[in-house]
Amino acid sequence: MAYTTENNQSGVMTKAIKEGIFAGVIALGMFLLFVGIETYQDINNQLVWRTRWGLLGVFVAVAAIGRFVTVGFIKPHLDSRKLAKAKTGVLEISDEKGFFRTHFLKIALIFLLCYPFLAMLIFGRQGSLKYVDNFGIQILIYVMLAWGLNIVVGLAGLLDLGYVAFYAVGAYSYALLSAHFGFSFWLLLPMAGILAALWGIILGFPVLRLRGDYLAIVTLAFGEIIRLVLINWTDVTRGTFGISGIEKATFFGIWSFDVGAANNFNKAWGLPSSSVYYKMFLFYIILALCMLTAYVTIRLRRMPIGRAWEALREDEIACRSLGINTVTTKLTAFATGAMFGGFAGSFFAARQGFVSPESFVFLESAVILAIVVLGGMGSLTGIAIAAVVMVGGTELLREMEFLKHVFGPDFTPELYRMLLFGLAMVIVMLFKPRGFVGTREPTAFLKERKAVSGSFTKEGHG
């Protein structure tokens, strides 16, 4: 017995070394031209090239060592754990969860409510700006967008690649209407939502008969159309210059955050003048908007329309044979999802003070969709976690100055954002094919609530 395990182990090691070398060779082949050679313009504006063997070496080493460790140590470890579990006969899901997991949502909410003050306590007034704005607000905007898209993609199963269009509609609605008519943020926020919902219906009508890949292509085109209109309709949108000087949100019309205004919030409360109070206020607005999105989603799921969305995702023909009007069901899904996109858009415009078509490129749609898929379609908690990891992660990259010491002064970590994004997606999909939270809370109960584990569902194997 001992002999075989030892034999096995040396076998695993040989295999790991082999696979590690193999991965290194492949990485060398792949990155030789992309990373190993760099083109740039010299002083005479000529295109010349230089080599970056060091960086290439790092890439190859990461691939080779990563593969070696995965095959040699991580995989045997995971396998033995699985085996041990199978032997004891304990299912992977157990009803007992720790204190942290049962109260996760409450803890998260309390943390979020205290977050701006905590940041201020720890990093000081100006230091907290980064944490409230770049991390807090930025992440929450994506949480809200992803939760909005989740209604369309996660619940109703309509693959929408042009979601950013509604974000743009919301942002430009606020920017234009506030500039031309001087309406306030609090009036324009619902209006932007309604306008976006209208656009959702306009998009919905022509694509009613489409599903899956065809729907994805048309929605993708729709997103591009909106962006191109924004670029080319220069009379109204000022094209690529964008619209600047967008009015800030006010404290419900009572106090203003404009420095020159008579009813300035900071002056009224005797606070030192700093933009951090405005950012904190914005943080709470977007937090409230997120909570609204979550609340509406949870409520709708228990109502006939929400159930119809989920059934629509599963089987459209069966839906019709059960008397569900699939036309209105699809349109309401598009409209509801678009509305939250519109809310987020108008908030975005108020926060930035500047909108341009560049903020609404296809990549944004892709990132939002990636967050929904990574989080686990339909799961609000999972999507929020995915947004924190993905958006927070890319923001963190900006902070990684120390990497310059490793890779040289020319190294800008932000440029590798998409590479890491892709890597993270592949890893998550390998280990958690249904996303971070793959379980789905059922909406029908007779007596007791029972979470249905993802372990019972088919995923190709099992």
């Binding site: 599963e314 008397g323 569900i324």
Partner: protein, 242 residues
């Protein structure tokens, strides 16, 4: 048994593009009957079933349900006239639980009779009760068929359409399902229109039956008559399952 007519299909012709799938089909179902439609693969049985449900719609002819012409109604409105369907291939919602599947069936009345009707379905198919919080997609074929029929029954239908309920199921399970249908018909007076390839089982169960060949109804009669008919025996029963 000759109650009043519930469903009347009159001279219906249905096309897929330019290809005619049904030519001048006349079928009648009376209240309280079990009527079956038998025929070979590709005879147009399922097409007739789908035409009754309005997808595809009949190009000529009429479908009259409970005195109302439903030929040109969209599918969901036909379903709201209380024609429930257990479609071919069962079409349950795989990622929703058994209970949620049943809930979707009760949507027409906004869940007014949900609890009451669920209990009825669970009495009829105890297996579904055991599996109520399991996902639909993880059920066995027979259980999925039970769920499909149960879901159809949740809408308190006047007419139940069953498309190939025996498809791909073990004979013992088919027997159980057919017994359940028979019981529903006897005890609740439910009208059932059934499409089947398993001619023997279907004819034994039915009050009346139609035989379909190449998009036409070629024969009709009581279940017993057709079972004894030499042509039917030769075409659908001999060498088949008994």
């Amino acid at each position: 048994m000759a109650g009043e007519t519930l469903l009347k299909v009159q001279g219906v012709e249905t096309y897929y593009g330019n290809i005619r799938a049904l030519s001048g089909v006349d079928v009648e179902v009376h209240k309280g009957e079990i009527v079956s439609l038998i025929g070979a693969n590709g005879a147009g049985k399922s097409t007739l079933m789908m035409t009754i449900c309005g997808s595809p719609q009949a190009r000529t002819g009429q479908v009259i349900f409970d005195g109302e012409d439903i030929t040109k109604l969209p599918t969901h409105l036909i379903a709201r006239r209380r024609i429930a369907q257990s479609p071919e291939g069962r079409r349950i919602f795989p990622r929703m639980t058994v209970l949620e599947n049943l809930q979707m069936g009760a949507n027409l009345d906004n869940l007014k009779y949900f609890k009451e009707d669920v209990e009825k379905v669970f009495v009829m198919f105890p297996r579904l009760k055991e599996r109520q919080s399991q996902r639909g997609g993880t059920l066995s074929g027979g259980e999925q068929q039970m769920l499909s029929i149960g879901r159809a029954l949740m809408s308190r239908p006047k007419l139940l359409l069953l498309d190939e309920p025996s498809l791909g199921l073990a004979p013992l399970i088919v027997k159980g399902i057919f017994e359940a249908i028979k019981k529903l018909n006897k005890e609740e007076g439910l009208t059932v229109f059934l499409v089947e390839q398993n001619a023997f089982a279907a004819l034994k169960l039915s009050d009346r039956a139609y035989v379909m060949v190449n998009g036409r109804v070629t024969m009709s009669g009581s279940g017993k008559e057709l079972l004894a008919n030499p042509e039917v025996r030769a075409a659908y029963l001999e060498g088949g399952r008994h």
